[in-house]
Amino acid sequence: MENNLITEDKQKNKLEKAFEILKTMASKPSGLIGLTIVLFHVVLALTSPYIAPYDYKAISPNTMLLAPSAEHWFGTDSLGRDVFTRTILGGRTALTVTFFGSLIALLWGGLLGIFCGLVGGKIDDVVMRVVDAFLSIPWILAMLLIVSLLGTSTEVLIPALGFFYGKGIVRVARAATHDVIAKDFIVSARARGHSNMSIIWNEIIPNVRDAILVEGAMRWSWMLLGFSSLSFLGFGVSPPTPDWGLMISNARGLMSFAYWSVIAPIVGLSSLIIGINLTADAFAKALGIDRSTKAPV
């Protein structure tokens, strides 16, 4: 009975803390704007299949490159498809792929960084040199190689993006671990004979979690840009799936006379990236993390 009460109290405290963080984030205009934009995109991604006015695949020579009108709010593209429909659906794949990709990046990057920070020595040296080697490879070239060999399905893109964007998180997690490793409670835990796994789980993660989460949020927006770049180059989402990067790529040649077909996906993509960035900044400030003093990784 007593244990249940303690657990409920802990959960209540966590909820209260999360609410407090949200409140602090929303108290600043930039944070409020960021949160609103991200929430808007998430809601749109969830509801767009039900509110889209046209079939996103429907092609027709009779409706090619129509300017915005009451019938087609954002006009039509070069294959006669409704740009509004494709724009509101265009963020779904990007959000899904990059969200899960970020989770993978956080998990492997965070855990490996913490482990290296804790054990140090030769293992740390070897792992960090390997990470450095991977950091020196331009991600876009490596991604192009991977999708050329394995295809462009989401089953390939999610782990591949998760891997490439997790490399930077290894460094952040390792640095954050170094900050806490010399503290008394770690020394005490070691003296009590706790295993490395126990120390990581019970002592380090609660103390470095915030820094890693903020880094993960920032990586999410970069990954979104990276994923859209792949789509722009034709190596992300396959047609006819609507995707902002692909839409921009297809319409870029028509920009001078059919601007509507390219503006909507550009606004969609850039607003989401800005929204995630503002939210991540506000999140960091609410947790008391000053990103401006961090060394670039």
């Binding site: 695949k57 092609i59 070069s78 034709g234």
Partner: protein, 495 residues
Amino acid sequence: MKYILKVFSATFMSLILSFSIANASSGVFKVSHDLGFGKDTNLDAITKGRLFQVVIKTQNRLVRPDMNGVPSPSLSTDWSANSDATEWTFNLRKGIYFHDGSAFDAPDVKYSLMRAKDPDIGSPVRKSLNVVEDIEVVDQHTVKMKLSTSFADFPLLLTDYRLRMIPEGSGDTIGQTGVGTGPFMVDKFDPEGTTILKANPDYWEGAPGVAEVHVIAIPDAQARIQALLTGQIDMNRYVPFNQKKIFDSNSKFTTSVIPTGNWRGVVMRTDTAPFDNPKVRKAFRLAVDRQELVDLVMGGAATVSCDTPVMPSDQYRLQMDCPQNISKAKNLLREAGFPNGIELTVYPATLEPTWPTIAEVVQQQVAKAGIKVNIEMVPSKGYWNEVWMKKPVSMTRWNQRPADTILHEAYHSGAKWNESYFKNADFDKNLADARSELDFNKRKKAYQNAQMTLWEQSGTMIPYHVSRLVVTSSKVKNLDAVDHFSIQWHKVKVD
């Protein structure tokens, strides 16, 4: 009197000087190529990796097509055949020199054409040239070609854009030197950068209008359009019709629409399941709405084709209608053992700007017949080596050729570029019969029978023959409004 003489001399010298200036080659004409053959790109016209944007400017043929596609003199001034058209005699132009200084004569003709037949080289043009059994050097400026069969259209075959004359014995180096008798000479060959051609001042049709031609490698189609817009290149012959508006209203550019025999298509390998079943292939082809493709991809500027590669203006083309027929396509799939349809993947690259759009439109059209098409984009660089004739389904594009050449080259069972691995004895027999037939109507019938076989059995879906939207900088003058291989490049000027 002295004064009059002085004035006269000065006027005369001025006239000479201005005449020389007016006729001197000047300016640089900048064009692009797509690097589609990657590392195999070379200047040997008969090989797969030939960079035709260069060889068509540096080397001549014996016979070239005139503005209407009719064989006309080039390095051969005239020709004649014996009564059954099995022996053809060509008289060669005199006083012609290669860029390396050697004289052009009959042994060069024999060497150039027999080399194209060499099985060790394995030229894609070999199949259509196999009709030539021997070439006899009658004298320094006369050759007699002995054919294995009667061939009334033989000069038409020699207009093939790859049958260029090169110096005798130059086969080992021609891939890098590009030596010929053409209006331009290769100064620097850099297939992945900028290849520089210099004007040949001694060109037999007169000095070229420009001093240099730069052939720049730009693999991406949109990048080539941007290069044209920013003045990096002066001509783009692959501008999609949906971008015509960009140039129409801009005085810096000139646009022209040229009907051609060039075609785009989707190739199914007939040696690979499920496309080894003719019913599956025909079902796919029947499920395509060709007119909609013409409208959506080409803005209406193309001629519908019923899977024949023979160009619309060719006398041997089979005229027929082939509207989309979804119910028949479904029936064929059912009969072939695929009642629930099939799934396939196509691999477009942006080296041909219309491929991704063709794939996307076809994807929607054939879905109605239960054919699921996945689209996987691949890099432009090396497309012809890595994807084409390798994957079960690929995208293709061909430049125009005479009926006999294209039918042999793309579909004959022994052809190197038989991209769909099509093997049909009736088809091969019809082509052989057509070549040996001296009666025009019977010859036409045989070529059309061959095209009907393609409609029933072929693995290549050819929706249309394109009209080409050519955009040039308005500085470019005297460019013939015809296809690549009929242009007389020495006439081009750049202000």
